[in-house]
């Protein structure tokens, strides 16, 4: 693990982010949604570490609270997509035949639409909001996990130990649960980390477009949106949430990369 700098760097960034989320539940320098118009657009100071925004809200507090939103949307969207998608992928690999073909073509079909377009459609149907953002990102993740778990499970099904398990009289569902799922877990964990980064970017993009988180709930994407009008007077307002998003996504990607290498025994042997 010490030999893997990207795993360590990614882990540190992700832990910092998680610490920020935990901290935000207990304490923020100011109430994140408290509007204080007379003190708007202040530069960084001892009282307001990162200054205040166009409505006089404390940027540091907003960033902390925004981390909470990105974690919530990420966990919900990736969690739903990963669980449901993996279940479908495992089902397809175990059943084969027409059901498998149907599931995989449905996944292909959903890939044909950019996730953002799906989100626009959902927002048009059900109105913008956190739930819409989670549903749109979750739907995209579902297809991703269905494809990946189907491919990985297909490879496990062709291994000798599955044949041996069948020779013991185990049926396909027992084999799926006891042999296939544990053997594809590493792939899924790595993918979940990377999808988490994608989900955070997507949440920021949707909120920036006004399709995601509604005011007054803080979100890094909405902070970017609001900073846009004051880009010349207070460019730092765009820099802070931008940097937060970038660091968070970078951290998750590095962590995913490191995990992939660490969990892959073939690569581990090469390193040794």
């Amino acid at each position: 693990m010490r030999r893997h700098p990207s795993f360590v760097a990614g882990g540190v960034l992700v832990l910092l982010w998680l610490a920020a989320v935990l901290l935000s539940f207990a304490w923020t320098p100011w109430p994140p949604t408290e509007i204080d118009i007379p003190n708007k657009l202040l530069p960084p100071s001892a009282a307001h570490w990162f200054g205040t925004d166009s409505l006089g809200r404390d940027v540091a507090s907003l960033l902390l609270a925004g981390a909470r939103t990105s974690l919530l949307v990420g966990v919900a969207a990736v969690g739903m997509g990963a669980v449901a998608g993996t279940a479908l992928g495992l089902l397809g690999a175990a059943r084969r035949g027409w059901l498998d073909a149907l599931l995989m073509r449905a996944a292909d079909f959903s890939f044909a639409f950019p996730a953002l377009l799906t989100a626009l459609m959902l927002a048009a149907l059900y109105g913008p909001g956190v739930a819409t953002a989670v549903a749109a990102i979750g739907l995209f993740n579902l297809a991703v996990f269905a494809r990946i778990s189907r491919a990985a499970a297909g490879a496990v099904w062709s291994r000798d130990f599955v044949l041996a398990a069948r020779a013991c009289g185990r049926n396909r569902w027992q084999i799926t649960w006891d042999h296939v799922l544990p053997n594809i877990a590493a792939v899924l964990i790595v993918q979940a980390t990377i999808q988490f980064a994608v989900a955070i970017l997507a949440e920021a993009a949707l909120s920036y477009l006004g399709l995601g988180v509604r005011p007054p709930q803080p979100s890094w994407g909405r902070m970017l949106n609001e900073a846009q009008e004051y880009l010349f007077q207070a460019p730092q307002l765009a820099l802070y949430p931008g940097a937060a998003i970038a660091l968070c996504v970078l951290g998750l990607n590095l962590l995913g990369d490191g995990l992939r290498d660490l969990l892959d025994p073939r690569l581990a042997r090469e390193r040794a």
Partner: protein, 324 residues
Amino acid sequence: MTALLAVTDLRVALPSARGAVEAVCGVDLRIERGETLGLIGESGCGKSMTALAVMGLLPEGAQVRGSIRFDGQELVGLDDAAMCSLRGRRIAMVFQEPMTALDPLQPLWKLVSASLRVHRGLDARSARAEALRLLERVRLPQAAQRLDARVHQLSGGQRQRVMIAAALACGPELLIADEPTTALDATLQREILGLLDQLVREDGMGLLLISHDLAATARSVARVKVMYGGTVVEEGPTAAVFATPAHPYTRGLVAARPRVGAPRGTALATIPGRVPALGDLPAGCPFSDRCGWVVEDCHAALPPTVDCGEARAARCIRLGDISL
């Protein structure tokens, strides 16, 4: 009394790029309880496919014709649920590669007790106890300390012991061992085969041993069937078949064995040519393109099985001309 296993005119066709090819073309087998039968031949002669057909574990798209009766019950066309209840409980199989046929992520006790948990519904506690008993029975060193070990912590021979223990868990009536010693070195081969032999005798199981190793087979089974190109070309009591092979292919096989004590520089006898791919078998006798005694009639049709006395038989039309 019905035979434990009676296979009649088994034909297995596998899908390939050039359409279905027959990997097994009309194999007959009969194994009684407590009987041992060897199936020998080169890679690709159909011996493993015969075993997988009995287990109902053929690759997807394979077509099976003929009859496989296990204790009177027809297995060809049996649904998967019914096959699942037989596999591991009444018919068990030991695979050739202990490196790949054991799940690397599961602890030994789970691997060994898999069929017990399926068929007897044992809880984890009694499954562990049974696993320990089985591992001690196959003489795995330090079995008690290794119940939670993973496969990568074992040597090749130990892995094969684990696989045998798993196969024996439910006390099957028929054990199919597909090249159980191929991945092991010579001393371990003897040990594992000796162990199998002992366990089979203790439990009164029927054993179908599949191998390409003549010496290993000769020690372990009472009767042997020699396969070539998907058919059984010769069969009989093991000692007699190896002492005086009748079929030209068996003669070639026996002659090609290295002999300890042969003068230095003696070239190994070989069978000319190579095993043809499944789709490219010659017409008539599958061995006709490599046989030294081939005549025109050999290409006409698959030779019938000729009884040679002493419970022996061979598929060759020239048995009378090529003296034993």
